[in-house]
């Protein structure tokens, strides 16, 4: 009887270990295995194929266009927004010298055929997470007057040096909490500090 019990016990342990191994393979908070972000998180998102390889480098770095010129809603709503096609066209009608480039041709093809560009999400949060762009932009860009590329870069990485944007930060819960634990000075003159909200219902819905 005793031997049987011990055997069962060992089987139990072995089984639970195997189960854990299986789970370790399946569960990666935020991305593919084997890729290390600069924050030390093992979570880099998948490479997303976009319909047009939008050169963020040219727009944000060379032309120095503010991120919020295209991602208009970031400062006043939860989502940052993807620009409408007429916004792209509005500028590119005025730039005839790049009209023959393959990407711009593709852009105008969508415009002429009345099809909106099927952009794909790169930073895709789960449905049960509420993230608010407005509060982060208002706090760090408008209140603290930090450079916009730095503020957006906290979560999106150095997009201005990318072509097609790629997730470089582990947008996982632990990573968010890490930042929310930090004490930020309220303003440059005020020594008082605050940190981000640390209540489950602030981010989860």
């Amino acid at each position: 009887m005793n031997i049987k019990k011990i055997e069962l016990f060992f089987f139990g342990i072995l089984f639970s270990m195997l189960a854990q191994l299986g789970h370790a393979e399946a569960f990666h908070p935020g991305g593919a295995p084997g890729t290390q972000t600069i924050d030390g998180y093992n979570a880099l998102g998948p490479k997303v194929e976009q319909p047009i390889e939008f050169p963020h480098y040219t727009h944000a770095n060379v032309m120095k266009i503010n991120c919020m010129y295209c991602h208009t809603y970031a400062r006043r709503s939860a989502v940052s927004g993807i620009p409408r096609l007429d916004k792209c066209i509005g500028c590119h009608k005025m730039i005839p010298e790049v009209r023959d480039r393959p990407r711009i041709k593709k852009l105008f093809w969508y415009w002429d055929n009345h099809i909106s560009i099927p952009w794909k999400k790169v930073h895709d949060l789960p449905d049960f997470v509420r993230f608010n762009h407005e509060r982060h932009i208002q706090r760090f860009y408008f209140q603290d007057k930090r450079p916009v590329r730095e503020v957006c870069g906290y979560c999106h990485g150095d997009v201005a040096n990318m072509t097609t944007a790629r997730r470089v930060k582990a947008i996982s819960m632990g990573w968010c909490i890490d930042c929310h634990k930090k004490d930020h000075q309220i303003s440059k003159v005020n020594l008082k500090t605050t940190n981000g909200p640390n209540d489950c219902w602030m981010c989860h819905k």
């Binding site: 006043r76 939860a78 449905d127 049960f128 208002q138 489950c200 219902w201 989860h204 819905k205």
Partner: protein, 282 residues
């Protein structure tokens, strides 16, 4: 509420009680007043709640098994001496009482959750974090109001066949099977207006945000607002009815109508009901 905090403050977490003027200097304490004299039992609030919070309609069979998912229900009562046979519903004389999560200050559900999926938020809400819930249903067993609902089925697959899924509210998650659900005072609306208010550097104004049930009520029986703001409608009504949040026994004028349900259980609920004045002669 990290795990470290939770372990460190275990005693206070397990024995939370409201104390005098707890929300005096706080920005928010959400509360509600329901005037039963105005309530006609029309169920508009229930319907609004279904639409706002992505609640599935479970159907007759599952309803009979007790699997209903309404976060806000209308309870019917008949007065004393009007006992009703089981198979008969009288034409008149019913009293209606909308019953939703009372957002207790000392919530019996919070102290028994084995994983801390339900806790008290800083603005006085009794939260339920669906992702953390493991479905032990202990909270439901401990709730004296019976307003916690367990999700028995994977309704997300069946309750909204194409194209009905387009009616879902994107600000609320579609809960999966095996979690406990409850009224949240429409927390998605609260958070949105609190965010905008903070951007403007002010507090949420009275009447700026309201719950779906209060918005839909045709007789304006439901008043929702910030109890921490003494100028708000809710705070005035609480004060007029001489009801204090941290007291379980309200010693007050007999002619006042306000009361909280099961106050004697010392749950300190955040919802005040104004009782129905009935004219039995008419």
């Amino acid at each position: 509420m990290s795990l470290n905090n939770l372990i460190k403050n275990w005693t206070s977490f397990r024995s939370r009680r409201p104390y005098l003027d707890q929300y005096k200097n706080a920005d928010y304490k959400w509360a509600m007043v329901i005037d039963l004299d105005a309530c006609t039992g029309c169920n508009a609030c229930t319907t609004a709640c279904y639409a706002e919070n992505n609640l599935p309609v479970v159907g007759k069979e599952r309803y009979e098994k007790g699997h209903a998912m309404h976060w806000l229900r209308i309870e019917r009562y008949w007065g004393e001496g009007e006992s009703v046979p089981v198979d008969m519903v009288p034409d008149r004389g019913a009293q209606f009482l909308p019953m939703m999560c009372q957002q207790c200050e000392a919530a019996p559900c919070e102290v028994v959750c084995p994983v801390g999926a339900t806790h008290h938020s800083a603005d006085g809400l009794n939260t339920q974090v669906y992702n953390r819930c493991v479905g032990s249903r202990y909270c439901s067993a401990n709730c004296p109001y019976k307003v916690r609902y367990f999700n028995w089925w994977q309704y997300a697959d069946t309750a909204w066949p194409n194209p009905l899924e387009l009616q879902l509210n994107p600000d609320v998650s579609v809960r999966s099977k095996g979690v406990m659900e409850k009224c949240t005072f429409c927390v998605q609306r609260l958070r949105e207006s609190m965010d905008h208010a903070k951007t403007d550097g002010r507090l949420v104004r009275d009447g700026e945000v309201t719950t779906a049930c209060a918005q839909a009520c045709p007789t304006s029986a439901i008043t929702f607002g910030n109890l921490a703001n003494p100028q708000s409608q809710v705070a005035k009504k609480w004060k007029n009815q001489q009801i204090a949040l941290e007291k379980d026994e309200q010693k007050k004028d007999e002619n006042l109508r306000g009361y909280r349900i099961f106050e004697e259980f010392r749950t300190y609920p955040s919802v005040v009901y104004l009782e129905r004045v009935r004219d039995l002669e008419a």
